[in-house]
């Protein structure tokens, strides 16, 4: 893998190639990172030029029992990349390989040293980008983003780094190569991607990643609103998101931060206001214009003094530059500062903001804050002069008070910067003892010698931990925070129905034709089943799987210990991410007790188009392929879901369904596109309707569009397109199937037929559907020893299900 313009030379004067750098300058420089913390002085620095070399270095460190820390760009803010005395630093700055962008699968494979911003630059010609955009994206590496599970302003709509990883290749503590599976969306199993992402290099070193790319919005509207009062700005965000609008980003900077930014960039922000908000919508032009106008109105009524729209791309970029460089600009405020990264449930954000004012007054400190407001994530920075010990003490006390308050409000100590060494003392405030024990056992399993970034992220064993919060006994909606907590036994359909009454839903499709000829939640009866089996159907407007909307989990280990992981917040990087790692792991490791989901605006309508061949010529896959590909190019929306039934009377039918708005520019435009594609494919439209979204299944049945599906059994196979599998122009449709439901983004196929001899690309069935289907054997690159070890940790006595493949060896 190589890229133009990325050749590297060794440093003249230093030892050549990637051999260890041991000169005084290297050891001084690599002892530091953006955290301003200090740990020790390394013994050697390596900058390997390839994966084999990287593994050789890890192997050698393991042989010599020398601790090793992996370093991306050293922009981490919690000290993750800092070495201790005598450690080896393994820098990834020369691992810049990058595979071709796969526009069909919307993926790209990259090595860890590639800078975040470069990935989007590479994908731009394909109309795609890498959505996670930490403010440090111009300098931070993808390896570091994965190490910290970085977020960014645009993660509000698109999700954080974890939601953009399809699979990882990694090197374990012994220097052995490993993988995480097939990289199929909705792959079931103990999810090593979730475990490694955010593990701060303490479990393994990521050597390459298959990333999910996101289509660019056709049109973007960026608003700047200024608020005389910060309280109003924060409350306005809560109201705005509660109103059903879903901007791609909502950022706030407070007055102190504004002043710093103004000093740096002289953008012309007013500095006599308490807050400025940047808000962005992306999608079809009419959509963004309409949403932006609605938002502007809401903000004005919520106390905004002035709301302006960026006039052009240059102004838009300038706005974002100011926001993204705000952190760096605080260097202009005071010689030293502690920056926090707390996150609270959205509805509690106004409370925390008020409390921060009190804390500020009580400790007599200066605080400047930047908010990823839509996520409930904020970075209050306490500024002080570090030559004055009194000020330093007050600053740190104020910081701890803010963190404690965020936790009282149900939040987390870190939304994106991670624990590192910086937040080790506060991590136990939010972890229960059982969860902490699991952290240590997992660390010991992956790194028995304790050589990978030791002393980071893990809670101190003897600390006094938080009590395990009580799981909910019934479904509990926090409307202002846009979350729903529910016991495992709750009926998912009821939960959805209650949410839809408020225009919200958990964005899980989970609708498949049922044997009775209706459409409905296919197999997932309960919340627990949905979480354990990752059961989902075609995603009618959602972002993907249960994993993408799960925030918090209560579970019981095989030996009956209850623990809690995650938090009811939109992002959380405090400790190992057991929440997502266990999601989809069946009933093999733990038993699910309760879960918290994120709610999103529910689509208003569902467009339905029934098509069949004109003149009785039987439908076939080659004729459908170009049509299905074109339908997928809908701006900023998941591609339509298509039901293909080649056995239907009269030569077969194709039903196209898509969520959206009943407007000329949205479902109207899609209807015209469907019509045009149909004509080209020689199909005629037999039915066409726009119905309320939640009535979709019944409406389909009522129109007699599903007769053929009645015969389908309740067992469905789910097939996925592995990352990078599709050559451009290659036929990717399941040619041998007679009946299938297709979702084109991500490219997934559900079929009630038993897949015995599939076309090459989807040889891997992601899961055999049906309730309580056993957990499938993982792909070969997932090291069995680690899975068996995890089984021992979570179910030491083997009381839970144990698939045969887990017992082998």
């Amino acid at each position: 893998m190589s890229m133009p313009g990325q050749s590297r030379a060794s440093r003249p004067g230093a030892s050549g190639g990637s051999g260890p750098l041991t000169d005084a300058a290297s050891l001084s420089v690599y002892a530091r990172d953006a955290s301003h913390l200090a740990l020790g002085r390394p013994a050697a620095v390596y900058l390997p030029a390839g994966e084999p070399e990287l593994r050789a270095i890890v192997r050698q460190a393991a042989r010599e029992r020398r601790p090793l820390v992996c370093r991306g760009a050293g922009t981490g803010l919690s000290g993750g990349a800092l070495p201790g005395d005598g450690w080896v630093v393994l820098g990834t700055s020369r691992l810049l390989g990058c595979g071709p962008v796969d526009p069909l699968g919307r993926t790209v494979t990259v090595e860890p040293g590639l800078l975040n911003e470069r990935i989007s630059a590479l994908a731009r010609p394909s109309g795609l980008h890498f959505a996670p955009d930490p403010s440090s994206q111009s300098a931070a590496t993808i390896g570091g983003n994965i190490g910290e599970n970085a977020g960014g302003p645009h993660c509000l709509r698109h999700g954080v780094t974890l939601q953009h990883l399809r699979r990882l290749r990694w090197c374990d503590a012994r220097g052995e190569p490993a993988g995480t599976g097939r990289g199929l969306p909705l792959e079931r199993g103990f999810d090593l991607v979730s475990l490694l992402c955010g593990s701060e290099g303490t479990l393994g070193i990521v050597t390459s990643a298959d990333l999910k790319l996101t289509p660019d919005g056709r049109s973007v509207a960026t608003l700047l609103a200024v608020f005389p009062r910060l309280d109003d700005a924060v409350s306005a965000v809560v109201n705005l998101l509660g109103s059903g609008l879903l901007p791609v980003a909502v950022e706030i900077v407070d007055q102190a931060m504004l002043e710093a930014v103004e000093k740096a960039f002289a953008f012309g922000f007013p500095t006599d206001v308490e807050a400025a908000m940047i808000l962005e919508f992306s999608g079809a032009a009419e959509e963004t214009a309409g949403d932006a106008a609605r938002a502007a109105d809401l903000l004005r009524r919520g106390g905004a003094r002035d709301v302006q729209t960026a006039a052009d791309e240059a102004e838009r970029l300038a706005l974002w530059r100011c926001r993204k460089k705000a952190f760096g600009a605080v260097g202009r405020l005071a010689p030293s500062y502690v920056t926090m990264d707390v996150v609270v449930p959205l509805g509690r954000l106004p409370l925390l903001v008020r409390d921060i004012q009190d804390i500020k007054a009580r400790w007599g400190v200066e605080i400047a804050t930047a908010f990823h407001a839509g996520d409930g994530n904020l970075h209050p920075g306490v500024h002080y002069d570090d030559t004055d010990p009194e000020q330093a003490r007050a600053a740190h006390a104020a910081a701890d008070a803010i963190i404690a308050r965020a936790l009282e409000l149900g939040g987390s100590v870190s939304g994106e910067h991670g624990i590192g060494i910086e937040k080790l003392h506060v991590l136990p405030w939010m972890l229960d003892a059982e969860s902490a024990r699991l952290h240590h056992e997992v660390k010991t399993l992956f790194d028995p010698q304790g050589l990978l970034n030791p002393g980071k992220l893990l809670p101190a064993p003897g600390a006094s931990f938080a009590p395990c919060p009580e799981p909910p006994e019934s479904v509990d909606f926090q409307w202002e925070s846009l979350t729903a907590r529910a016991p495992a036994s709750a009926c998912l359909a009821d939960l959805q129905s209650a949410a839809m009454d408020r225009g919200l839903w958990v964005p899980l499709g989970a609708w498949l034709p049922r044997p009775a000829g209706s459409w409905g939640l296919a197999t997932a009866g309960t919340v627990g089943e949905a979480v354990a089996d990752l059961v989902t159907g075609p995603v009618l407007g959602g972002s993907g799987s249960v994993r993408d909307c799960l925030l918090e989990l209560w579970a019981v280990t095989g030996d009956g210990r209850r623990f809690h992981t995650g938090a009811p917040v939109f992002k959380n990087v405090a400790g190992y991410d057991f929440t997502h790692a266990l999601c989809g792991s069946g009933r093999v490791f733990v038993e699910m007790q309760a879960a918290t989901f994120q709610l999103r605006p529910c689509p208003a309508h569902l467009g339905i188009w029934g098509l069949k061949t004109a003149g009785g010529v039987p439908l076939d896959w080659p004729a459908l392929e170009p049509l299905l590909r074109r339908l997928r190019e809908r701006p900023n929306q998941p591609g339509p879901v298509c039901l293909v039934d080649l056995e239907a009377p009269g030569g077969g039918t194709l039903i196209v369904t898509a969520p959206g708005r009943d407007t000329d520019w949205d479902l109207g435009a899609l209807g015209r596109l469907v019509g045009e594609c149909a004509r080209q494919a020689g199909l005629e439209c037999t039915a066409q309707a726009v119905v309320p979204f939640r009535d979709g299944p019944t409406e389909l049945a009522a129109r007699g569009l599903l007769p053929g599906w009645a015969a389908a059994g309740s067992d469905w196979d789910l097939l996925g397109l592995p990352a990078g599998a599709a050559d451009p122009g290659q036929n990717v449709l399941p040619v041998r199937l007679r009946r299938a439901v297709l979702q084109a983004d991500p490219w997934l196929v559900w079929t009630p037929e038993s897949v015995t001899d599939p076309a090459p690309w989807f040889a891997d069935a992601v899961c055999r559907g049906g309730r309580a289907a056993p957990l499938p054997r993982p792909a070969e690159d997932v090291p069995a020893a680690y899975l068996r070890g995890l089984k021992r940790i979570f179910d030491p006595d083997g009381r839970l299900e144990t698939p045969a493949w887990l017992e082998e060896g």
């Binding site: 133009p4 313009g5 060794s10 230093a14 300058a25 301003h36 440090s136 260097g331």
Partner: protein, 451 residues
């Protein structure tokens, strides 16, 4: 040279240094970091080293520290990128400290040394005229101009320019950069005229820069600059011609010297001061600009940066040629239907903060499509004498720059500094043979040509 520091200075320096929040946002803009992937070779790395020295945790004379400071090109891309406003002068100071501690003049104590006489000659016009120095620049330029791909590239271009390659192909090789430019202009003229061959109506040297060109009560004083004068005198003459056609009264003060930058680069403080003195004498004590005094026009961005760095040094407002040209009303411009990528010389973009002006000038040419390369802020690795001392790094950077420029699909690259011109033309000859490079003012002159 590192001055002896008072306690107050120490404190001030450390306060300044603390404005670096170590965020690392400068790294991807730093050429030496991009070329090596080594954090020591980054602005943040160098600032950390300075902090170590000032904090008494490291010895300034430590060779690896020296090497790190020495390899800084001085391009100042980090200063432009830094959100925290950390001044580049800190790095310069680190350099001074390290070299003072090592007991040798800044810039020349470590790394591959150049013979002292060569260094001295680097800053003389005569040297620049010699084949040895011109070779790097001219050969690169010519290979770039006359490579095989040039034909097909321009054949694609719309309008009469499509005929250009055929015309160029039959011309003999030229020994100097200046002639390369003339040949390219000839080709452009011929193609535009649909003729078999074009001819640059080159303004005569004496009429433009010679003693007889002096004018009374000028509104522009022309600073010649040794590199332009030595390597590309024709370009200067055409610029003068263009200015006069804009109705300017341009005077070329006689007796002017090199701006002093090259002496400064080689650690020759006295030499720099000497050049400054000679220029003060040549430009005289004219009225202050506020009183309607003449602008001092500087053609090469390196000189502009040097002259602007000593405020009040020359009487009059020192302005880059692009700054002056955007303020003038140009003669009617003819269409140049080419895709053009502009390369920002560091001395222009970072040294003088000039980014918009050259682009505005190019966009003002009818039919011209301006394309933006990736990493416009990254140094091309020429860096005056730096490139000669670190040829490996310089080569990597030149290639990277050429790849980024070529990736725009441009028909022509335009820049404003002769050093960059040669460096880029040389690399383009390998990366995108036939993609030519032209000084911005020459392209403007061509668009404004008479007849």
């Amino acid at each position: 040279m590192a001055p002896a520091m008072t306690d107050g200075m120490q404190t001030e320096l450390r306060t300044l240094l603390r404005s670096c929040v170590q965020c690392g946002l400068c790294l991807p803009h730093c050429a030496t970091w991009l070329a090596t992937g080594d954090d020591v070779q980054s602005p943040r790395g160098r600032l950390i080293l300075l902090d170590e020295i000032l904090g008494g945790r490291a010895d300034a004379a430590e060779p690896s520290f020296l090497a790190a400071f020495d390899q800084c090109i001085g391009c100042r891309a980090c200063e432009s990128a830094c959100p925290s406003g950390v001044p580049y002068s800190l790095l310069e100071y680190g350099q001074d400290l390290a070299f003072a501690a090592a007991g040798s003049p800044a810039g020349w104590s470590s790394g591959p040394a150049l013979p002292a006489p060569l260094i001295r000659r680097l800053s003389s016009v005569r040297f620049l005229r010699t084949a040895a120095a011109a070779a790097t620049l001219a050969s690169g330029l010519l290979r770039g101009l006359l490579g095989p791909g040039w034909r097909t590239r321009l054949a694609r271009a719309p309008g009469g320019l499509g005929r250009l390659p055929r015309l160029l192909g039959s011309l003999p090789r030229s020994p100097s950069a200046d002639e390369g430019v003339v040949r390219l202009l000839n080709g452009l003229i011929a193609a535009a005229a649909g003729a078999a061959a074009g001819r640059v109506e080159d303004p005569s040297p004496s009429a433009t820069v010679g003693p007889e060109s002096r004018v009374a009560s000028p509104d522009i004083l022309f600073f010649r600059g040794c590199a332009n004068e030595g390597l590309m005198p024709g370009t200067s003459r055409r610029l003068l011609d263009l200015l006069r056609r804009c109705g300017c009264r341009v005077d070329v003060p006689q007796g002017q010297a090199c701006c002093g930058a090259l002496a400064a680069h080689t650690g020759d403080g006295r030499g720099r001061e000497d050049r400054h003195r000679r220029n003060r004498e040549a430009f005289g004590p004219g009225p202050a600009p506020a009183d309607g005094g003449p602008w001092i026009l500087v053609e090469a961005s390196g000189c502009g940066h040097e002259l602007k760095s000593v405020p009040g040094e020359l009487a009059g407002e020192v302005l880059d040629a692009t700054e002056i040209l955007t303020r003038l009303s140009l003669p009617p411009l003819r269409p140049v239907p080419l895709k053009v990528a502009f390369h920002d010389p560091c001395h222009l973009r970072h040294g003088q903060g000039i980014v918009a002006e050259p682009r505005r000038l190019l966009r003002g040419i009818p039919g011209l499509e301006l394309v933006e390369p990736a990493e416009p802020e990254v140094c091309c690795g020429s860096g005056g004498a730096w490139g000669l001392r670190y040829p490996d790094l310089s080569g990597i950077l030149a290639r990277r720059k050429a790849e980024n420029l070529a990736a725009t699909g441009a028909d022509l690259v335009v820049t404003t500094n002769p050093g960059c011109l040669g460096q880029i033309a040389g690399a383009l000859a390998d990366v995108a043979p036939g993609l030519p490079v032209l000084p911005l003012t020459d392209l403007l002159w061509f668009a404004a040509r008479k007849g």
